[in-house]
Symmetry: C3
């Protein structure tokens, strides 16, 4: 009822992991409950986002790049490069965990919702995501 | 132990749904546990906010309107209008799910905390919220 | 399986509460499940952040101070001072609840992840955090 998923990212990008999470749910056989998703890192995050038009994620990235600019001279912590500190702040803003309800044995996402792993570092990284399933009370 | 609530929003605004969530908790009879709230959309979100002075939510809206401006020419995705892409980004920043502890059969919110549905689109929308209740371990 | 922790903050700062949360987990004896952490306030928040270099948290604070400036004349709600409204917005951006998986009886955080209470008000405050533990399905 808990599973670790591993993803290799190509560097800064959003990766649709909805199918991987849904797979863990259908394997587990929880009918009514919660699916908790957690990323074990501080410069990659999880986000629910519109899943139909890739321009949406590109625009989210444009906004992030402007709101938390790489190489901002204000940042003291830059040991791993200009994308180091922005990676941490973007992860805090989008979040490192999320929980989706399970109904009738499947993720109860809205039609336009997808679950994305958001890689904030420029270089490729290996990322670990922990999925934990919980029964609703009385289920 | 899972319930769908439906809300009609008048367009961009914050809607206090604390009482609706609390109602689902008291119906269910969970004594100690968690109440998970999830909105099945990507341009409306959930937020815990100060519940006493309406100016707080108005100021949150002022900040959002400035941080993620409607009609920003940077955005490519604008099929549904100038508030389309800002709706997605505001939802990501505030979050589409939240979880509140249940203690002694009621939501264990702080005195000044309310649960709000935050509609980010200009036009009225029908929104669905899924409430799932879970028992604490040993409860 | 639910516990209230109390923290006195010295005013605006980040407080590492990982050990306190881990202590609640080991007391409870949950082997596989979830640890939910909730702060009962609207001007202090919870955040997972890099735990090795204190400059990271200082840079997060620099970014917040610039993105949500104290005393911004746009804010109407300033009854408790120039840090009042920024405290609410910073709390919404970072979040008032988070959930971490429990694996083999301990918090399954990544190597570089710590759990922080982020005090956003200038003055010292007493803050309450509710920790709730839940078993994974089948555990």
């Amino acid at each position: 009822m808990q599973k670790i998923l591993r993803f290799d990212t190509p560097g800064r990008s959003t990766l649709d992991i909805t199918r991987d999470i849904a797979g863990a749910v259908s394997e587990a056989g929880v009918e009514t409950g919660l699916c908790h998703v957690f990323i074990r890192h501080t410069s990659a995050s999880l986000m629910i986002c519109e899943n139909a038009d890739p321009d949406v994620r590109a625009d989210v990235e444009r906004w992030m790049a402007q709101a938390v600019p790489d190489g901002d001279p204000m940042f003291v912590h830059d040991m791993e490069g200009p994308d180091d500190m922005p990676g941490h702040i973007r992860s805090i803003l989008t979040g490192m965990d999320l929980t989706v309800p399970i109904t009738d044995g499947t993720l109860n996402l809205g039609t336009w919702q997808g679950i994305y792993l958001y890689e904030h570092r420029s270089a490729p990284h290996a990322r670990e995501v922990v999925v934990t399933l919980v029964n609703a009370a009385g289920a």
